[in-house]
Structure formats: structure tokens, C-alpha cells
Symmetry: D2
Subunit: 281 residues, 4 copies
Amino acid sequence: MFKVVGLVARIDQKNAVKLAKKLMPHIENKGASVFLESSLAKRVKKTASALTLEKMKVDLIITIGGDGTILRTCLKIPKPEPPILAINMGERGFLTEVTPEEALEAVDRCLKGKFVLERCTKLSSFIGKEKLPDALNEVFITSHTPAKLLHTKIWRDGFVVAECRSDGVVVASQVGSTGYSLSGGGPVLDPELEAFVLTPICPLTVFHPIVFSSKSTVSVELLKPEKAAVVVDGHYQTEMKANTKPITITKSEQESSFVRFDGDFYRRLKARLLFPRGEKV
Amino acid sequence: MFKVVGLVARIDQKNAVKLAKKLMPHIENKGASVFLESSLAKRVKKTASALTLEKMKVDLIITIGGDGTILRTCLKIPKPEPPILAINMGERGFLTEVTPEEALEAVDRCLKGKFVLERCTKLSSFIGKEKLPDALNEVFITSHTPAKLLHTKIWRDGFVVAECRSDGVVVASQVGSTGYSLSGGGPVLDPELEAFVLTPICPLTVFHPIVFSSKSTVSVELLKPEKAAVVVDGHYQTEMKANTKPITITKSEQESSFVRFDGDFYRRLKARLLFPRGEKV
Amino acid sequence: MFKVVGLVARIDQKNAVKLAKKLMPHIENKGASVFLESSLAKRVKKTASALTLEKMKVDLIITIGGDGTILRTCLKIPKPEPPILAINMGERGFLTEVTPEEALEAVDRCLKGKFVLERCTKLSSFIGKEKLPDALNEVFITSHTPAKLLHTKIWRDGFVVAECRSDGVVVASQVGSTGYSLSGGGPVLDPELEAFVLTPICPLTVFHPIVFSSKSTVSVELLKPEKAAVVVDGHYQTEMKANTKPITITKSEQESSFVRFDGDFYRRLKARLLFPRGEKV
Amino acid sequence: MFKVVGLVARIDQKNAVKLAKKLMPHIENKGASVFLESSLAKRVKKTASALTLEKMKVDLIITIGGDGTILRTCLKIPKPEPPILAINMGERGFLTEVTPEEALEAVDRCLKGKFVLERCTKLSSFIGKEKLPDALNEVFITSHTPAKLLHTKIWRDGFVVAECRSDGVVVASQVGSTGYSLSGGGPVLDPELEAFVLTPICPLTVFHPIVFSSKSTVSVELLKPEKAAVVVDGHYQTEMKANTKPITITKSEQESSFVRFDGDFYRRLKARLLFPRGEKV
């Protein structure tokens, strides 16, 4: 089924690198060829198999790390995106599917086609004509300076929703509703719902999270201060300016897809809420 | 346009009754006939024009009161529901459109057809085979006793979402998202979104509000205690029992519709959040 | 050290009754005499040792149940209260100290004096001249009817704090800050802090929890509706009326005291927040 | 009563500078001498009367601006601090007392001694041996990078309270409880309460605000990442490192004091919550 597999791992984690080393021959033995993300290839001295994320036009990508590794991968890989099998080595592991111990077996099931694909809507955003990379989780508009108030105006399809004074404003996708937006007090969006949610971070006055149809265009205009940071999925950062073009956010035509063996969103949600990896009681 | 008009008013408020008295001849002078809700008819001694809510098959209903008056009216009037012009005399006035001072002019505009209709999705709910009246705002499952914990299990389309220990569980429609659900920490649902939201009231452990597609069937099963109260729109109350049939909630085929002159959901929302009627600073 | 011991258990739980039966001879063998709460005595057919809670003037009380059992016991026993060793058999077990498995050993350590006493401030409250029993956890003012709005005015030492429209108002002690108040969004009060906290339940408009010095007198005046329920520690219920005497709450001269073997408030807090008994993941 | 008065104003606001210009001769006519903060003195070309904040050993300071102006002033002026009369020209005006229109009359009342002094406890903090300037509102520990998780361990008087994963941690004074801490979900602390509150900002897992006695020493240890920013009152910034000395926070011996004409904390609180300056409905 999958003939060409890409491997991505956190190279700052010994165990992640070790697992990558073990997986490569294991997958090749099953008849698929394997490419390694460039820095990983260098780290394990397999530069002949190196491929940058931007060129990773493969049939399947395996990530070894946490949600951060997945988010960074999805920001850069070619579109449409290949499916991702995510092995959890990180602290935030909501998007990941299997533990390192289950990795070999998971790869085998995956290569045999015994899985379901979870398709996740992504967010497309523009600042004027500048296209930002699609967000899997969220677009975050915030001040450059800690605890500095941001004054914004929110629009939906050309109509004013409200002004907002807060540390920042998050617009999260369905799957992103379980990430940073949740910490800011946002609701969980059910996987069957085509929607995204705008959640203010530390609003000065009362401002409730608002859930929009994914058919809507949501815009955030910066009123104050002069500049704000825009962060996509916690890894891509750019800047927007006051009183010029707002940032506009819509549903992307692209999506990310994940290999799931049981596909139970709420089971993962429960596990994540009570036991972030590494924080046992 | 509207040939037969029904009038409903809070008879415990002098000003509401007074306004009803003034509106009746005003509307008749415009060529429409007027029926009065039975208790109002009795109060103003016009029993010849009396009609119970259940029989109010008219072209337009005018309510004089707060959101409570509207909710009680919508629970009882025949389906499909005629449009409602809501004059605000109550404390909770999110659904209402005009102040008493604007009433005459609003009625005139309305009779001339100069308005837009806001259509609001309602919630249909069943406890086993017992059909409850459709909810405009919300279905609320709660203990009979103050501060007594309710242990429930939540389902979506036959799959378990989570168990919940809380004072109660609210399932609110889009328009109901600005009502009781909001006080419980639920998000605002944009009017373009086809969804409803489940919000726990005072959960014992962390439990975030969840937004479901309005295509979903959400069920709430009672695990403990033996009995719970089910309240629809704050006015209709019934009972459910533990470990038998859950309450199932879906989008209703019926809807309520409101006469609006500008139709700006977020303007009303802002006003409501900062200035509930009678609570000026 | 303790010559006379009182035993209280949830008689609707077989295991609680069974443990009580086992503890009685165990304690008597250590040289102390044992009294059983009347309904328990009847249940285990030891009516010769029966004593009502109101007459339980003993050196130590052992409760077998959850927080509810403790709260009910503290409402009724003679003042000043004897120390309590609490064995957890319930769902809410924040106040309890040991599991059923640890019970025998705990009793032995306790009889040898190897423990520390945690002293908990209680709340004294009056409605006009009617004295309510002291609250260990909280005083809760709420409507009789589910989801019915309560309009109150809050006072501190004779000065108006604010008006509040909400489902109810909780005033919680330090130890009670981890109970119902927490579910309503209230903060945790550190055990070294002499304070209590007022937390609104589902406020209509924004109303933050307020923490008062325990030297303060906090009063809650009912403005609407005509009557409200006042619930002390979830078990004692009375009524207050609108526009007459407010309920006034101060620090009580009485306190409850609990046998602790390590005394770590935050360890219990963490356990409670993540694992309410019976809700394992 | 006040013989020497210091004037501080936001020099980026024309109206603030204009008012300062008007106040100077007005105060001199009443027989007091006036010094101007250096940048203000330069701006209005009265450098003969210039004084840096650090040297402003005067009897009364008048600030013209918002809370930010007050906080910056209190960070720098010599200790013990002279009382402050705060005229509101800013957006956050919780600490301010009078509007620009009331300024002249307020100054007159003030010079006649017709006022009360509100004394506000400040927070003293150390990172190892590095003393930070006392905080009037709060000490904020946060990541340098937007939305980057901070992993900290909280201690009270040498005992572990809990670990916390969040965007940041705020420790706020009584008066600071109405500032940034409130936006993070913290409670209001009554002016009679000797306490401070620790509020996590966007915690990853559930973590409630905790209120400590002002006799306590609260420490925050950084576990991850390597460095974090520490911001005092939104204006003074320094850095702390992981796994070395924690930041320790106690009640300061210094306090700030404000001229009040009615001294009603809750009236200001209500006004602030509903109408931050410039955000009329």
C-alpha cells in the first residue's frame, strides 16, 4: 500500500532518534523505501536517504515526537499532504496515536492497510496578499511583549462581531479546539462539526469564545498597538500591522490526515485532559 | 400582510397590560383582527377575543414581556409557529427586539412588511417514547435538590462521549447559546452555525462545553441519583429515571421565527452582556 | 488517649457497615469503649451501644463514608467537636484521610496518638435571629426551582459590595473552597489563610468570586424572588425571604478537627482534582 | 499640608501634557512648589523644575495617565513612597481616582487635606540574591516566546504546592487582584484581606487560582524551558533560569498610597468591569 515512507523525529531526544534508527530497516524489510528528514538523516549518518520536509512527497509520514513535531511537519510538507502515523514522545500528545512501545506493531498494521484515516480540516489565512501556511491547530494573534494588551476588531463575512481587548486572539480548527484554545477557555468542537472557534486569551472585559461555521470568513483587525505577532501552529511566526489589512481566516482546501487504529476522539481527549505525558500523579 | 394577530403579555406587569390595551385598537385600526391570550383577555375584560396559546393559529404574535414570555409562548403555540414580534418588558431581553417606547412604530413597520425574519432552530427531545415540547433555548437536566450531584453519561450518535458529574447538563440551541448555557461557561454559537452545545453546570471535575453538529443526536443517560428533573426552556418540567431510557436530543423540524428590524445578532449580544435590563450602573 | 470512640457509617453501603462491624471489637480490644450512631447500631443489632449524633460527646469519632457523611456528622454533634478520623467510602473524598484497607492500621496509629490534628474554621450564619448550624464547607443560597434566577445584594461589614443575578451564591470556608465553590469557579484558599470566599453559581452577568477576611461579616440580601432555599453543607436546609432580614455569615467560634497522618493539603487536593473516587480512567 | 508636589504625565498624550501645564501654576498659586518628571519638564520646557522619578522625594505625586503611568511611577520613586493623586487619561483606569474634568477641584481638595489615603500592600521578590523592584499589582513569570508552555513548580513556605504547565504564572497583590490576574480567571481580593493570589495563565491542565496569606513566602521554580521572563507591574523586566534559584515572593515592607475621595473599592471595581475607559457601548 505505502511504497515510500518519510521519517521525521525530534533529534533532541535520544529515544526518538533511536526509534527512528530501528524503524528504518524494519520498514525497508517490509518492501517500502524510506526517506529521513534531513536533520535526522545527518544525525543518524544516512544522508543518502535525506529529504527536506518541503520535498517529502511520500505515501506515508511517520513522526516520532509530540504534537509539536506533527505541527512543524504539516506546516512544511507538500500539498496534498500524505497521511501521518504519529508516535508519541512528547509532552503534548493529543494528535499522536501510539506509544513508542507500540510503534513496530503499529507500523506493521499500517503497512497492511489496517487503519482508518482521520481527516482534519485546516485553516487558511491571509494578511492582505501575504498567504500564511495553513494551520492544523490554530492561528494566534498576540502582542510581542508579555502581558501587553492587544486591541482588535473581529469581523465575520464583512460584518463586525465585536471589539476585543485581550492578551491575544486564537482562531482554532476543530482539532485545534483541544489545544491552545482549550487552555484559553474555549469549547471542544465535535469531529463531526464543520466549524472553527475564536477564543480570546485573557480578555480585559468579558468576551466569550465564539464558534463559527467553517463556511465563514473570520477577520481580525489590529487596532492597537502598532504591531502584533501572528503565530501559526506554534511554529510559524509573522507580523501584522495596525489599521491596515486585517488577517482573514477561512477553511483551507487542504487537510491533514492521521492514521488511527480506533479513531475515538473522546478517548484521546479524556486521556489528554487528565494525563499529559510525563505528568503522572 | 398579517390579517390575524395574537397578543400575549405578562399580566403581572401593569405596564405590559397597559401596552396590550393600547395596541389592540391600534392594530384593529390598521385592518387586522386581534386575539388576546386568555388570561390577558380576562384581565382587560375582552373575553370575546380570548384564545388560548394552544389555539393561537394566527399570522403574527406580539409578546410583551421578557425572554420568559417568549419561551412560554413558543412552548405552547400550534406548529408551524407564526412569527413573533417581541416587545421587551422583562429582565432577560436577549430575544426581544424593541422597547415599549418603540412598540407602536414597530407594529406599523411590521404590518407594512418592512422587516426581516430571523429563523431559529429548535431542539426536539424524547425520553424513551415521551416527546417533550421543542426547546427554543435549551434542555436542562438537573437534580431536584439544590447542589446535589448528578452523574450522567453523554452519547453522540450512539458513541460514548464522556461521563459527567455536575449539578446539571444543558443542551442549548444556537440562539440558546446566549442564555443559560453562557452562564455555565458555554461559548456563543454564531447564527450561521448549524450546531448545538452541551454545557455542564458546575462540574465536579474538569469538563469542557462541547459543540455538536445539529445533524447529531446527543443523548444524556442518568446514572445517579434515581431521578432527575428535565426542564425545557425554563418553563416545561418533567422527570427522567436512572438506568432506563436516556433523553435524546436532535434538531427539530420546527423553528421559531422573530421579526427583526436590523437583524444584528452581535449588537444584541453586546447589549445583553453589558446591560441586562434594569441593571444600569 | 481516646477512651470513648463514636462510630458513624453510611448504612446504605454494605462495605461501610461491614467495616464498622470489624472496627468495633478491634477498638474495644485496645481498651476504648465504642458507641455506634443510632441507625448504624440498629443495623448491626448493637442497640445497647447506640447514641444519636446529637449526644455523641466522645473523645474521637470515626466516620466511614464520603465527605457527605462527615458533613452530616459535623452538623449535629455536640460542640466543641471531638476530632474525626475519616475513612473514605464515598465519591467525594476530599475531607477523608484513609482508604478502607488502611483503616485498622490508621485506628491503631490514632489510638497511640501518632497523628496531627487539622483544625478547620467553620462558618456561623444567621437569618435575622434564626441561628443556622455552623458550616464546615459552605452556605449556599439558591432558588427552589431549577435554573431560576436569584437576585441578591451582597454586603461586607455593612457596605454594599455588589448586586448579583445568578442561580445561587455560595459562601465557603477555607476547607470548603475545595468543594462546591470550586465547581462554581472559585479559587483554592491556602490552609494558612484566614478567609472565606463568595462564589456566584452561573451568574447572568460577569461576577467574579470574592475572597474576604474571616474577620468580615458577609451578608446576602434576597431581592427576588419572594423566597430562596438556604443549604448548609449540602444537608441542612432552611428558607429565607425577600426584602426582610439578610443572611449574615461570620467565622464561627467552633471548629472541626480531623486526624491527619501527613497533613498535606495540596496532595489531597491534587488527588481529588484528578481522581474523584470511582472515576478511574 | 503638601509643600512639594511632583507631576508625572504621559507625554505621548497631548491632553495629559496640556493638563500638566495647567496644573503647575494652579498648584504654585496655592503656595506649594512643583517638580516635573524629567521627560515632561523637557516637553513643556520647564527644565529648571525637572526631577527624575528616582529623585522624586516630594510630599505628593500627581499622575496624569492610566494605571500604566501609576505602575511605572511606583516602580521608581524613592521609598517610603509619597501619596499619589491619580488623574485618569488612560484605558486601564482601575487605580486612578478622578477624571481630567475633576482634576482642578480634586487638587484643591487634596491640598486642603480633604481626602482619605488608601494604603496598598506591595510584593517584594527575589531571584536568588537579585532583588526586583516591589510590585504594586503583580509579578508575572512567562515564556519569552508567544504561546510557549512554561513548566514551573510552586512552593509555599518551603512546601511543594503543585507543578504547573501554563503560558505563565501571575502572583498578584490585593489591589493587583483586579488587574491582570482577573483576566486570567483569578478572584477579587477584598481590601480588608491580607493576602495574595497565584493565578496560572492558560494552564494546560486544570489548575485553580490559589489565595495565600500575605504572611506566606511563595516561590516559583522554573523547570522548563531554560529561561523565562519575569515582568513586574508590566514595566520592569528581568530573566530567570531553569533549575537554579526560584523566584520568591513575600509581602513588602513598603506600600503605595493613593488619595481617595470616597474610597469605595467595589464602586471602582464595578465601573472598571463594565466600562473600561474608551469602550462605551
